[in-house]
Amino acid sequence: MDELTREFLIESQEGLDRMERCLTDLEERPKDAGLIAEIFRSVHTIKGTTGFLGFKRLEKLAHAGENLLGQLREGTLTANRSIITGLLQLLDGLRSILKTIEAESNEGVGEDAALISRLEQLQLPVKGRAKRLAHARVGATSTPILPARPALAQPPALDPAPPPAEPVQAEPVQTATPAPVEAEGDPTRTRVQGTAAESTLRVDVTLLNRMMNLVGELVLTRNQVLQATSADPRMTLLSRRLDMVTADLRESVMKARMQPVSNIFSKIPRIVRDLSQTLGRRVRLQVEGQDTELDKSLLEAIKDPLTHAVRNSLDHGIEPPDVRMAAGKDPEGTLKLRAAQEGSHVIIEVYDDGAGISVEKIRQKAVERGLITAQRASRQSERELLQLIFVPGFSTAASVTNVSGRGVGMDVVRTNVEKIGGKVEIDSRVGKGTTLRMRIPLTLAIIPALIVRSLNQSFALPQGALSELVHIPPRQAAAAIEWIENAPLYRLRGKLLPLVFLDRLLMPGGDHKMAAERDSFIAVLDADGRRFGLVVDGLADPEEIVVKPLSAVLKTIGFFSGATVLGNAELALILDPGSIALKAGVSLREDDTVRVNEDEGDAGAAAALEYLLVEAAGRQAAVPLADVLRIEQLPLSRIEYIGYRPVLNFEGQLLPVEDSGGVLAAAEGDPQTQTIVVVCRAGDRHVGIAVSHVLDVAAGGDLFEAGTAQRTGGVTLLKNRVTGVVDLGAVAELPAGEQVQPEQSLIGETVA
């Protein structure tokens, strides 16, 4: 394909994407001249260029569309639903021809006559139609042998277009777009686009991929330099500078690959429009956070899951208008798409205010299909049961429609999202609605991972799958790991967790030391809905790793998703928790942490609020476990100061560190001392708490004040000791500047 044609294809596709967006908007604002002009321009450009390139079929079709659009532009015709439908069909027609050109370098053979004649029929404005009919009648009277035949033949062909004068009916689709680009009025819009075109550049994706690869190399080299020079104080400044520049460069290259989610969101109004017409629903679409950006390849990957989710919402979620009326709801349903960035992830939500999912139905269906035993189903929480809809072959739809309901769908959504390291969750209330939440990492090429040791080798474990780590000292190993026949199990807070020994898995039949002779660590993993513990010999630091693909021969092993180079220049294989679970036989059914009967009481207690028990300068305190994001061990030199407030540069974000326990102050003067910072969530903010030790996780008990019997705040009963709860909300905000108050101690005294 020559350069000219390729450029034409790219431009036309962009034009058509714009046209699609404008068309759905046009339905709302049929008189918006700006929108019509924009659509006209797209089609006109295609027509103009095709004539030049000699694509006759395309030219003919575009020409028919242009004529119709011309009338809209002149105002002799007003856009109504059937005109918009016709224009959408034109759009599809143009797209399919473009696709053929892209694949085969010629237009292919296809019949567009039906579409062209439909577009021509739509063109005739009322007056023209009447005139022609009159003519026909006149003709008919003069030739009585052929009475009014042609005239009679005309109207059925003309219809089903309602007269354009008729007020446009209820708009089924409405896009609430806070995006600034959506400025109304044509002149501003074109100006904006003009400047954008001058300051932007088309770059080949392969070049961007290459740049990303090179930046990955640089990150690796930086990691090695940082490790090699950490002992040399003269290098500290230089390596810190290198660190910063690398981080900035990485971010810029990543940004270059970013595209706004509006690129995929823009396809949704059309889907909603078409589906709501087929299904007889009335739906208002709201879109939020269109300018949130995501890596191009990830955007591609979530296109299908998103479409699936929207289809599901329309088919199973939002009820037909009469049902909604009967339920006392607005006959028009709301479908809300929301995108937002949260740390190193992008959250994409699909919300509908429809019928919701009946947990009872799921329970029944799951038992019926044998996915879960009735006994177990009765004990699972609503939330746990809801996640069952992601199991392959599961569908609660009473009947299979051609839109959805075949039970392939939600599992595809989950598989696709997990393939790119994301997570899916569903929340639903019967009668109120359903929210599907996808958590997508910002980038694929660089992921946070925990480095674990086994077989005297390092392996990288993606953090995304890791939920917690358990240390088993040698003397406790025999008691801690229990066996049912050949299956090792660990009691994690009263629930049995199936274990997989990494060394036995990777070297079957090898001579493995008994767990009693050495320290063991259990990495509790959550992969594809399978929960299990991976037993490894040791843990190293978490690292940001650059994923390198493996050769085909090694991919077939199945346990490794790639390889990476660590900071110490060692190569490490990246473990794939999903396939490890699968191959080790951790099934969805067993995984759900079979509860032991005699532990029922204990498990009940586990439902109470759990706390992380920490020690700071000799005192114990509790942090609500739900708020703990991670625990970092780092040299004191990483702590920096703004004024006298300690802060931590944590993954590029500034984290205020609370040191009311005086841990940092006590260790000052020796920058090599290791200090522990518990990173917590406090409302929307993240804060760090400096502690000297992390002791345990325990369930808290409520305490009641003597006499008043009122629940006491700020303290909890942990392991039968009254322990102060750290008030995360009270950690002062940044930048605090002059306003910093002399802090009171936030860590309460422990009353033994």
Binding site: N213, L214, G216, E217, L455, Q457, L506, M507, K548, P549, L550, S551, A552, V553, L554, T556, I557, F559, F560, G562, A563, T564, V565, A569, E570, L571, A572, L573
Partner: protein, 162 residues
């Protein structure tokens, strides 16, 4: 490498195109040759990272120009005992992509005349014969030519499965 150097023959009257250029590699006492047209690079004293559960012929992974390269161990392939310590790697290009060939040591580039070439002797081990492309009679030793296409890990794994 005295033996290899002694085997170097440049026939001055032979047309240059007829000469075969190869890189000699050593494996224990044996001398092998790889046509230089297939060699991208030579990486000296590498310690490949072993890959658990990989087919036996896989010598491990090495970091090569930003990518992770799968290596084939010539020792394992020919049924020789593994060697401790660093080994040299020839980075080869075949139809299936690039891979590393793990050998004890890389010698030098030799030029040989097709006149000294002999096809594979029929008494060679059936399983290994496919890897060889005949031998060159050097002055005081034999140099067995390797066929890089046959050493491609994808092909090896397909052959093993068959």
């Amino acid at each position: 490498m005295s033996t290899a150097a002694a085997g170097l023959r440049v026939k001055e009257n032979a047309p240059a195109a007829a000469l075969v250029e190869m890189c000699s590699v050593r494996l224990g006492q044996a001398l092998f040759g790889v046509p230089i047209t297939h060699i991208l690079e030579i990486v000296g004293s590498a310690r490949p990272q072993p890959v658990p559960l990989a087919p036996v012929f896989v010598g491990g992974l090495v970091h090569y120009r930003g990518d992770v390269l799968t290596t084939v161990s010539l020792r394992q392939l020919l049924g020789m005992p593994p060697k401790d310590g660093p080994q040299d790697i020839l980075v080869l290009e075949s139809a299936g992509g690039i891979f590393g060939l793990l050998v004890d040591a890389v010698g030098e580039v030799l030029t040989a005349s097709p006149a000294d070439h002999e096809p594979n002797p029929s008494i060679l081990d059936e399983r290994h014969r496919a890897f060889f492309a005949g031998a060159y009679k050097l002055k005081d030793s034999l140099l067995v030519m390797l066929d890089p296409e046959q050493l491609d890990p994808m092909r090896l794994s397909a052959a093993r499965a068959a």
